[in-house]
Symmetry: C2
Subunit: 382 residues, 2 copies
DNA sequence: CTGAAAGCGCTTACAG
DNA sequence: CTGAAAGCGCTTACAG
C-alpha cells in the first residue's frame, strides 16, 4: 500500500514476479514478453498467463536503459498552440504511434535560450531523435552537439545551413511567386508586401532587394519570410513590375500589431495598393484586423492573399485567398525521415521541398473601381 | 565510434566517468550533480568542473528507474491538432516546463480503443500523471487501473462520474444559457439548435428535453453537448419560449457535414429560425459552411452564436458571436492540480467549473427585415 | 562530509 | 530452448 522506502511510488508486478509465478528465469520471461529470443510454447504460455494474472506492465524505462532506445521522439516547436505546429505534431504522432513511439513536445517561442533548454531536456530524457524548427539559423552548437552524441535530427520549416541533417520545408519562394502571379493575372499592378524579412547587413530596402533577388528556391539558412519576400520580388519581376518601396513593409518583428499598423498606414496613404500579400501568420492576422478596422471590402477596395502559418479557416471564412502549408504532411514526413535515421540509415541527408497549395477565394478578383474621390477637380479638401 | 555491443547507441560521459575524473565516489558525484545530499565545497567544485569538461549529461531514465519519478506527464487529447487541445497542451507545457517536466502527447480521436492504447503507452513509459479528456464516460476501467497503480489523473472537458479524480470543465450549461440569452435579449424568439446530443435511452425529443431539463450545471458524467443542450433549454425557458421541435437538430454524430445538412434543412424549411445556436466545434463549422452556401447574411437573415472547440478567429472574421473556452487556462490548471497530486497531495478531489467568455460580434443584432418574398399574394411559385 | 554496496527492472551475451 | 550472471546509469540507505 505505502510506497516503498526507496521513494518509488508505483509498484505493480515486475518481470521477476512474472518469472517466479511462471517458474522460469527472468531471461525467459523477458524473451517471451519482450518478443525477442526463443522460448518453448509451454513455457511461453505459462509466462503469458502469469503476466496476465499479475497485470504485468513492462517498464520501458528499464528497457530503454539497456537498449539505449526509449522509443520516444522529441519535437521542438515555436508554439504548439499555433495551428501550423499543432498540425505538424499531429502528423508526427500519427506516423509514429503504431510503432510504439511516444512524442515529447516543447516550445521555443522562437527564443534561443528556451530552445537550448528544450533540447537539453529532450536529450536528458534520452529521446531517440528530435524534430525541430530551429529559431536561430546561425547558433546551432547545441544541435551539433546532439547530433554528435548520436541523436538524429530533422529540421522543419527552416534549416540551419551548417547542420548536416535532413530537412523539410515548403517551397517558400515558389509559393510566394505564385501568389503574386494570381494577383498580377487578375490585373493588379500595385501589390503591397508585409513581412518580417529580418536581414542583417541589409537594412535599406535596395540592399534587401538586391540580396533577395539572388536567392534560389532551395536556399537553406534563410528564414521563410525572406524567401517569401524573394518570391514576391520574383513575382513582380515576372509581370514586369518594378518593386515600389512605398508598397513594401519589412517589419523586422513577427508581430500582428505591427502588421496591423503597417497595413493601416499603407491603406490610408496617398496611393494605397490595390492588392496585398502578407508573408507570415502574424502579418496575415494583423492585415485582417486592419482591413476590418478600415471597413475595407475584400474583395472590393482590396485584394488579399495571405501566406499562412495559421488556420486557413479564417481566410476561407473571410473570403480571402491563402497559401497554406501542408502541416500534417510535414510532420509525417519528418517523422518518417527521423525513424529511418534512428534505425541506422546512413544515406546522405535529404532536403525536401514541398509545394504549397494556394486556396483561392474571391479576393484575387480585380478591385472594384474605387468610389470617385475627387470628381470635382480642384476641390482640394474633403 | 561504433555503438557498443549492447546495442546502446549514444554514449557520452556517465556519472562514473565524472566521479573517476574528480577523484570521488559516484555517490558523491551524484549528490553534487543531482542536487541532493551533502558535499564539501572543494569536492563539489572538482565534480562540477569534471562534469563540465566531460560534457556530462544526466540520464533521466536511470534516475527515473530508481526514484520512480520520470518528471513526465502524459496528455490524452481527442486531437491535438484542434485549436482547443493545442491550446490546452500549451497551457500544460507552460505550467510544467520550468519544473523540469516533459509532456508526452497522444490522440484518442474519441475512440475508446485508441484511448486505452494511449494510456497503456503512457503507463509503460512511467509518466508521473495523466491529463485526459476521456472519450467514454462509462468505460473507464483502464483509468481506474491507472489510478490504482498510483498514477494520478486529471480529467478535462468532461469527467467520468465514477472516477475519483480532479476534473476541469467549463460551465457548459451556464454558457449555453447565456448565449441564448444574448439572442432573446436581441428580440429573437425562434432560435435553432444544432448539436451532437447523443443520449442513450432518450431517442425522442420529448424524452431528451425532459431528461436534459433536470440537469444541473455541475453535472458530471454528461458529455458537453448534452449540457449545452440543457443550457439551450434553460435559456429558452428563461425567456418564456417553449422549445420548438422543428428548430432542434440532435445529430447524434460529431460531424460538420451532418451539421451543414441540418442547417441547410433548417434554413430552407417553411419557417426558418431567425437565430441559431451551435453546440460544438464541428457543428459550428458545418453551420458556417451552410450559411456560406446559402448566401445568408450574418447578421441579416440570421443571427448566429457558435459554441466553439475551434479557433474563435474564424467566428471573429465572419462577424459571428462565439462562446469560447479558456483552453490555455484549462491546461495550466490541470497541470497544477496534477503536479500537486504527484507531490502527494491527498486532499479530496476537486471539480473545477470555469466560466466561458462570450465574444459578442455583430451577429446577435436582431435580423434585418426579410426581403418580402411574396409581395404578390397568391403568386404561388417563383 | 564521504564511500562501498545494493538495487531500480529490465536485456544481453554466454554457457549449458 | 533455458538460466545464472553481469550490467545499463543512476540513487539510496548505511556505515564510517
Amino acid at each position: 500500500m505505502k510506497p516503498g522506502k526507496t521513494g518509488r511510488a508505483r509498484s505493480g508486478a515486475s518481470l521477476i514476479d512474472v518469472a517466479k509465478a511462471a517458474g522460469v528465469s527472468t531471461a525467459t520471461a523477458g524473451r517471451v514478453l519482450g518478443g525477442y529470443g526463443y522460448a518453448s510454447e509451454p513455457a511461453a504460455e505459462r509466462v503469458r498467463s502469469a503476466a496476465r494474472a499479475l497485470g504485468y506492465r513492462p517498464n520501458r524505462l528499464a528497457r530503454g536503459l539497456i537498449t539505449g532506445r526509449t522509443q520516444t521522439i522529441g519535437v521542438v516547436a515555436s508554439d504548439i498552440a499555433s495551428p501550423f505546429y499543432a498540425a505538424v505534431i499531429r502528423g508526427v504522432a500519427d506516423a509514429v504511434q503504431n510503432r510504439g513511439f511516444g512524442v515529447l513536445v516543447t516550445n521555443s517561442d522562437e527564443r534561443l535560450a528556451l530552445e537550448q533548454q528544450a533540447v537539453r531536456l529532450l536529450l536528458e530524457k534520452q529521446v531517440d531523435g528530435i524534430i525541430i524548427a530551429p529559431c536561430d539559423l546561425q547558433s546551432s552548437e547545441h544541435l551539433t552537439e546532439a547530433l554528435e552524441s548520436g541523436c538524429p535530427i530533422v529540421q522543419i520549416d527552416r534549416a540551419a545551413p551548417n547542420l548536416q541533417t535532413d530537412s523539410i520545408a515548403v517551397d517558400n519562394v515558389g509559393a510566394a511567386r505564385a501568389c503574386v502571379r494570381c494577383l498580377t493575372d487578375a490585373g493588379h499592378r500595385r501589390i503591397g508586401f508585409v513581412g518580417e524579412v529580418l536581414l542583417d547587413g541589409a537594412v535599406d530596402l535596395d540592399g534587401a532587394i538586391r540580396r533577395c533577388a539572388g536567392l534560389r528556391p532551395d536556399e537553406r539558412g534563410v528564414v521563410p519570410s525572406v524567401l517569401r519576400f524573394t518570391g514576391y520580388l520574383a513575382g513582380c519581376h515576372d509581370a514586369g513590375i518594378a518593386p515600389d518601396p512605398n508598397l513594401i513593409r519589412r517589419l523586422g518583428v513577427y508581430s500582428a500589431a505591427a502588421a496591423r499598423a503597417a497595413v493601416l498606414d499603407l491603406m490610408t496613404g496617398p496611393r494605397p495598393p490595390t492588392a496585398l500579400f502578407t508573408a507570415d501568420g502574424a502579418m496575415s492576422t494583423g492585415a485582417l484586423e486592419a482591413i476590418g478596422a478600415l471597413g475595407v471590402d475584400v474583395p472590393g477596395d482590396l485584394s488579399l492573399i495571405c501566406f499562412d502559418d495559421l488556420d486557413w479557416m479564417q481566410f476561407y471564412a473571410r473570403g480571402v485567398s491563402a497559401a497554406s502549408q501542408p502541416a500534417r504532411e510535414i510532420g509525417a514526413l519528418a517523422a518518417d525521415l527521423l525513424l529511418r535515421r534512428i534505425e541506422g540509415d546512413r544515406d546522405p541527408v535529404r532536403h525536401i521541398v514541398l509545394p504549397v497549395a494556394i486556396v483561392a477565394r474571391r479576393s484575387v478578383a480585380p478591385p472594384r473601381r474605387a468610389r470617385p474621390r475627387a470628381t470635382k477637380i480642384g476641390a482640394g479638401h474633403d
